[in-house]
Symmetry: C2
Subunit: 496 residues, 2 copies
Amino acid sequence: MTAEKTAINPHAHAQEALLKGLLSLLPASLVLTDPEDLRPFECDGLSVYRRLPLVVVLPETIAQVQAIMSLCHKLQVPVVARGAGTGLSGGALPSSDGVLLSLAKFKKILNVDPHNAQATVQPGVRNLAISEAAAVHGMYYAPDPSSQIACTIGGNVAENSGGVHCLKYGLTVHNILMLKVVTMEGELLTIGAETLDAPGYDLLALMTGSEGMLGIIVEVTVKLLARPERAQVVLAAFDDVVKAGEAVGAIIAAGIIPAGLEMMDKLAIQAAEDFAHAGYPRDAEAILLCELDGTNAEVSEYIMAVRKVLTQSGATEVRTAVDEAERQLFWKGRKSAFPAVGRISPDYYCMDGTIPRRHLPRVLRQISQWSAEYGLPVANVFHAGDGNLHPLILFDANKPGELASTEEFGRRILQLCVEVGGTITGEHGVGMEKIDQMCIQFQSGELSQFHAVKAAFDPAGLLNPGKAVPTLHRCAELGAMHVHHGQLPHPELDRF
Amino acid sequence: MTAEKTAINPHAHAQEALLKGLLSLLPASLVLTDPEDLRPFECDGLSVYRRLPLVVVLPETIAQVQAIMSLCHKLQVPVVARGAGTGLSGGALPSSDGVLLSLAKFKKILNVDPHNAQATVQPGVRNLAISEAAAVHGMYYAPDPSSQIACTIGGNVAENSGGVHCLKYGLTVHNILMLKVVTMEGELLTIGAETLDAPGYDLLALMTGSEGMLGIIVEVTVKLLARPERAQVVLAAFDDVVKAGEAVGAIIAAGIIPAGLEMMDKLAIQAAEDFAHAGYPRDAEAILLCELDGTNAEVSEYIMAVRKVLTQSGATEVRTAVDEAERQLFWKGRKSAFPAVGRISPDYYCMDGTIPRRHLPRVLRQISQWSAEYGLPVANVFHAGDGNLHPLILFDANKPGELASTEEFGRRILQLCVEVGGTITGEHGVGMEKIDQMCIQFQSGELSQFHAVKAAFDPAGLLNPGKAVPTLHRCAELGAMHVHHGQLPHPELDRF
């Protein structure tokens, strides 16, 4: 290599060194560079962001992952890890000058241990497959994102995934014990322990939800729970969305922690009913689905208590599913709400923000007011128990200006979430989609601390660059914009 | 200031600047320097380590804490934070050249919110005081370290405290939502959120259990739970410690998560019985105390299920407390076990290690074997459900060599905990006491990562220096020693 040659095309030369290096570490069949082969990796579940990586690698062993990382570290090449690609915030979007590291070949269940109530699996194992493997012991893995048939546990850890049952059973971080992680430098770390707690700083929690920016997860030990003896669901109808919101707080204040507590408003109810024929009351302004689980006796007791609270909160109708078939039907309606809304509108924009439960009534009222102002219908379908909102804004991208209005409406909802003490994302992560909203959520002190933590793992910023945590510079620019638009401080709050 | 003067006594000069600075920030009554005033701060609950700080400050506001930290950062003076000083690993031991920052004046309960099931308190609020304040709403704060009458929530966060009920309700990290933290540079950060999860890296979990090495906790928002309708305890006697250990795993595998699951062996039973007259079976080799809580119906169902498992596991006697008075008496025996053992031996050494539950039988067998070899009796009193062992080694410090034998025995127990996949501390933290054992627990990769995380918050190492995470150099030296003693790898493991 001469200096002259380097000067002619340093980029091509670096790419050549990378590919040559990767091919020395992996069989050629596990290194993809043909654009046709790269195409399936160009986006995750949020397909508005698309980018082809330079190369896709499909390692099969931890040693291979270590060698790949070590090579990329040496050559200072960005690396983006990818599980099943079901994420909804663009977190797995490849770097065009980097390696897309797929964990698709890591799909072994290594151990299921009922006496210790835990299982050790590779990161490419599907979420549901863990529960299937534990079923023989009467156990299951609790977090159940709606993509659980497809999404993998490694991705769940990266996004700290939740699901319908996280109100009672917690998020991914509350249901894992130990991780094996490969650092950017190619070092293998074991973090956490097979016990309640490990000494030292809590790197297990730090890694969980870090969106692939601190290390590559190559093994996960999860907690298992005993499958509850019985689950039952209560459906309550309300003639007012605000009353339904108030009922949510009243249930929690009564000391009941439902396994799931979901809310749908009229538009969502009707769309879901037309699609799934779940038996929902079509004329209700809102319904709550409240699932109770536990022992037979416990569930019976809680159903009585929940029915009482719902009635006192002004429910116009309270129905307990008569049998398992009806329980499944109630849930089918809820689970098909998103595609059902998709049928009644050319386009919809799914928001994901979280608020303290006590603010549900006022935030729902505000969204409905904005919906009228913008002339954009909103269907609300969400995890009411944890205050995790999913307003679906219905719009038509072909109508001039509607996409822009929709985006503005969405931004205001997220800003309102932050203003009432909530967050800009409940379970979908920040990724590419919400990186600007992070500037609303955090001040420079917290953002600087995030950058310092990132630098403790990956000082060169090679792991999943450009995601999840904005630069202070970006926020400073956006901050100016926000003031210009007069959106901060928020005048609407005075109206409540 | 001349260079000459600085050269004569730089140390005295720096001290003078510090004191002058502190007195400009705080009223003189909140800055203690008289050795008599410093004495109460020389140690925490582990009184084998004693050291006087240079100065004690007792700030009353967050702004004062920020100003103190900013001053100390400027002058590069070490700072050790202190709650109630009930810690058991020397974590609050002052630096002789530094500031001891007491949070004793931060004792306001700022807000209790039953609808959102949370409370916001200052860090100097006692653990039990939170539950007392929430009682009017039928709620409580779940983690209950045995020092809960005295220990404060700030210290609980710093140590990630547990308690008898953490098997079911989790550690401190699982029961807090939000923290306000002052950094070494004096910046105020808000971390976490009033919702299930916050975007960005999980600094909330990272701060929890960080033993005062990352920042000063100045406000805590905790989760509250509804007080269970009923709690009941089942006492089971066994003629063999190993059988009792096996019963613990069998209960969990049956899908029951007791609110508490405690074990005592013969020596502990007899000492506790002589002291507290709890009605324990004096001739049993081990007893289990299994507490169930929940609704009336649920508790009844679980009691039946637990009794069945205990009988099948070979219990010689299974008794349910006949009334609340007997339930309290059963717990009184357990809670007084440590002082009771203190009465039957001149000295005892309380170990704190955690193991995966499935290894309870073999670890208990090994401890008993070592006890015979060393001629040192051991009383076992511990949180069996989470595998958190507390072997109390009985010895007489006045007998030549017994302290050294006891310490060696203790080290071997902790090493065994690590070898079976557990940890060197269950709930007492690392602090000063276990810093060398961290070298057994972790390899250089994990320790380096801990140091990098520490540097992301406090690059100069001014916060609680010398605690919790050993230098690689220290471990390298100890590693050599261990190999020399032939204790690693562990030959005993082959004998199981």
